[in-house]
Symmetry: C2
Subunit: 151 residues, 2 copies
DNA sequence: GCTTGAGTCTGTAGTCGCTACAGATGGCAT
DNA sequence: ATGCCATCTGTAGCGACTACAGACTCAAGC
């Protein structure tokens, strides 16, 4: 079996995680520093699991700090389930806010492109839309979660 | 009128754009360096328009490079309308891809949270979902546009 | 005239999550 | 002995800001 003494390249292949990223995770303390075979890192089966966990959490959009928290909670048993749930729920809310933000963008963009396709008598409608001031407090959008400005 | 000799703080207030960000835009050449009153930057009405344009384009999610291109095309008349349209259309595609990505996350998260709320007999279902390997090439998602990994 | 406070200046470093090098080793096969 | 690949460390870059530190200018109030 190749379960013991997995070199970093093999770990990368098994998890789909870039070698540089693995070393980065180690540097920031997300993954523990593995033992060495000479100067080479030597991983075990549990590292494949752990890194896989990280990767899947990242795919769900959790930040590295959230992943760190999840890893901490993963070892504690049922007691932490509620905490995990709350973390995920908060994150879900965030994702939904970002979706709403993007959908607003999508509508505005689609509308503009449509206007462009329709008629172009007095200059490009898209440019005009961007040039025109709109009503409302210009600072309002800065506080929004996931706004393209200010994050 | 306060149209002439607008100081940076006033420009910030009028456009809702952070002072540091205005200076940053100047540094990277997105905004022209304004004349100085002594050592202080002195803006005019056209700067308010220009920066407002930038801000609105950013709100639609255009990158600064795209904004730069849009600014260039904004001065050229109707000839550039098609180019603007194409830029916006490409960007729209990108936004839609990001929405699709987020919606996938949303579904997975909502499902997990629901599982958490339902029963918790054998450990936290969310942690288990993250711990379990899924089928398929682990590298597949790395190529996707807007994936949380690899951007 | 002197102080106080607000505004502005430059320059640099930090954020997040990687990614991309450069240049030095290590180990294995031919 | 000679390639060649894998791995090592360390540093710098990305995008789009944001956050200081420390200096300066200017107008108003006393």
């Amino acid at each position: 079996m190749a379960d013991t003494a997995i070199p970093i390249g093999e770990l990368s292949r098994r998890t789909g995680c870039n070698i540089e990223t693995i070393r980065y995770y180690e540097r920031i303390g997300l993954l523990p520093a593995p033992p060495r075979r000479g100067r080479y890192r030597s991983y075990g089966a549990e590292d494949v699991g752990r890194l896989g966990f990280v990767r899947r959490a990242r795919e769900l959009g959790f930040t590295l700090d959230e992943v760190r928290a999840l890893l901490g909670l993963a070892v504690g048993g049922e007691a932490s389930c509620a905490e995990v749930r709350d973390l995920a729920a908060a994150h879900l809310k965030n994702v939904r806010a970002r979706i709403a933000d993007l959908r607003r963008m999508e509508r505005a963009l689609a509308e503009s492109v449509r206007a462009c396709d329709a008629g172009h008598d007095a200059g490009c409608p898209l440019i005009q839309a961007l040039s025109a001031e709109r009503s409302g407090d210009p600072r309002a959008s800065r506080a929004r979660v996931g706004s393209p400005l200010g994050r």
